[in-house]
Amino acid sequence: MAVLVLADHDNAHLRDTTHKTVTAALNLSKDVDVLVLGNGADAVASAAAKIAGVRKVLLEQSPDLGQSIAEAEEAAILPLMANYDAVLIPASTSGKNTAPRVAAKLDVSQISDVVEVVDANTFVRPIYAGNALETVQSSDAKKVITVRPTAFKAAADGGSASVEKIADQPKAPKTRFVSEEMVKSDRPELGAAKIVVSGGRAMGSAEEFQKVIEPLADKLGAAVGASRAAVDAGYAPNDYQVGQTGKVVAPALYIAIGISGAIQHLAGMKDSKTIVAINKDPDAPIFQIADYGWVTDYKTAVPALMAALG
């Protein structure tokens, strides 16, 4: 059986979610190809060709693909599926946008957010905000799978696959890109960071969030996350949201500050290796999963922590 992996990237850099999805794919088959859809993404394709275990890289480019327009991505993937038994797509917002279109066109059930490959037909996935794990067996001839990258180790570099260009230029005639507003930051990406510092509703304002959470993150070389309450209130940008309906992270260290620990938040961070919670309410549910809990006011605790870190 042959498996296609859709690369996750920003046209300049390949994200390590791709390496993790390759690992999931290698659990299914030895014949794993990577598809890069983008615009001006030659460097991404070269990076994908270096992933150990990848047989070949397919590169297809167009302006619409460069903007991750789902209709164009579907048009690019669909004809390729004649040659593959499965396509694995990292569960990024872009992957979640495109994968179901491919599944519908192939008339197969998508298997969403897979965290374990049991065998070629059997997969484990979280449901109910991760409060249950479902093992499903697919009877579809072809599989369309989105992969939760945090559940898999990144495949190492060391390969030297060939890059094959596909000449088609898939377009999405009824959809036009208008603009984007990306958060600029020198910090590591939330999904890939080794340490994440997250702030919650307790911050009370965007200024306070920036004054308290960001310097601590910078001191630790960490990414910044937030609860939904903090994002809804405008203390932090939308793409900082960690949780069931935001980003799923699993860093070596997750520090939750002024976050109560609602099930929807826990769904996005409870697989972190070490969890620290700073909260003034000793009964906050976050303490039930924290390795190190500190019952205190963050207003004094965070400056003390900054000082102790030196």
């Binding site: 179901p100 279109r101 519908a104 998508q110 109910y128 409060n131 984007e180 309906t245 999963i289 924290a290």
Partner: protein
């Protein structure tokens, strides 16, 4: 323009579900059920479009057990005009739901389908995109802002890294994210009025759609439990433990 709003009956967001000991699923006996929160946001958005005079009629549709009528009544009380309930006993997979919705779209010919990005029970995040693909319509998922002008919708989307704005030709499928709006509570008079609004009762057979599952659930298990660790009393203590015990600094 007519708007179709699919609404799913799901376990309430505040309930922490329990896995059944025989591993056949989660225990739904005596659990509070509600409209999927993202669908509430979709209904609210449709009602606001109607209040702005951009929409004439809102049709709420649910696929599920007979009690999903209550979910439709909630949508009607918020301001939807009529409902369609397609009853099934088995929990239809996203592909089957999308096929049923496509059949209904072919019949109703709405100019817009507004729906949730994700049902918080199965967490699939798939139906809207599948429906758009089956219809060959454009899609704008994870919307935090929707503006309709003429035969186009401008939609701001919450994506990894920030926000993206797309312009899509109508008809289109738009799925909602949390920050699109804050849904209203239905007033008592509107709840009373909703009781008189019509709900069409249908079955998948009426649309010729096969809803047989493609995925067989072999088992449903509890995720590995994390237990509470220890409490620290000072910053020095915490930093020391993170360095020496956890080895993460």
């Amino acid at each position: 323009m007519k708007v179709l709003v699919p609404v799913k009956r799901v376990v309430d967001a505040n309930v922490k579900v329990r896995v059944k000991s025989d591993q056949t699923g989660v225990d739904l006996a005596n659990v509070k059920m509600s409209m999927n929160p993202f669908d509430e946001i979709a209904v609210e958005e449709a009602v606001r479009l109607k209040e702005k005079g951009l929409v004439e009629e809102i049709v709420a549709v649910s696929i599920g057990v007979a009690q999903a009528q209550e979910t439709i009544r909630t949508a009607l009380a918020m301001g939807a005009d009529r409902g369609v309930l397609i009853t099934t006993d088995t929990d239809a997979e996203p592909l089957a739901v999308a096929k049923l919705l496509k059949a209904l779209v072919d019949e109703e010919k709405p100019g817009l389908v507004l729906m949730g990005k994700q049902a918080i029970d199965g967490d699939n995040n798939a139906v809207g995109q599948m429906l758009a693909a089956l219809l060959d319509w454009p899609q704008a998922t994870f919307a935090s802002k929707v503006e309709i002008s003429g035969d186009k919708a401008s939609v701001t989307r919450e994506v990894d890294g920030g926000l993206q704005t797309l312009s899509v030709d109508l008809p289109a499928v738009v799925t909602t994210d949390l920050r699109l709006n804050e849904p209203r509570y239905a007033s008592l008079p509107n709840i009373m009025k909703a009781k008189k609004k019509p709900i069409d009762m249908k079955t998948p057979a009426d649309y010729g759609v096969d809803t047989a599952p493609r995925l067989k659930v072999l088992k449903v298990t509890e995720p590995p439990k994390r237990s509470a660790g220890i409490k620290v009393e000072s910053a020095e203590d915490l930093v020391m433990k993170l360095k020496n015990e956890a080895g993460v600094l």
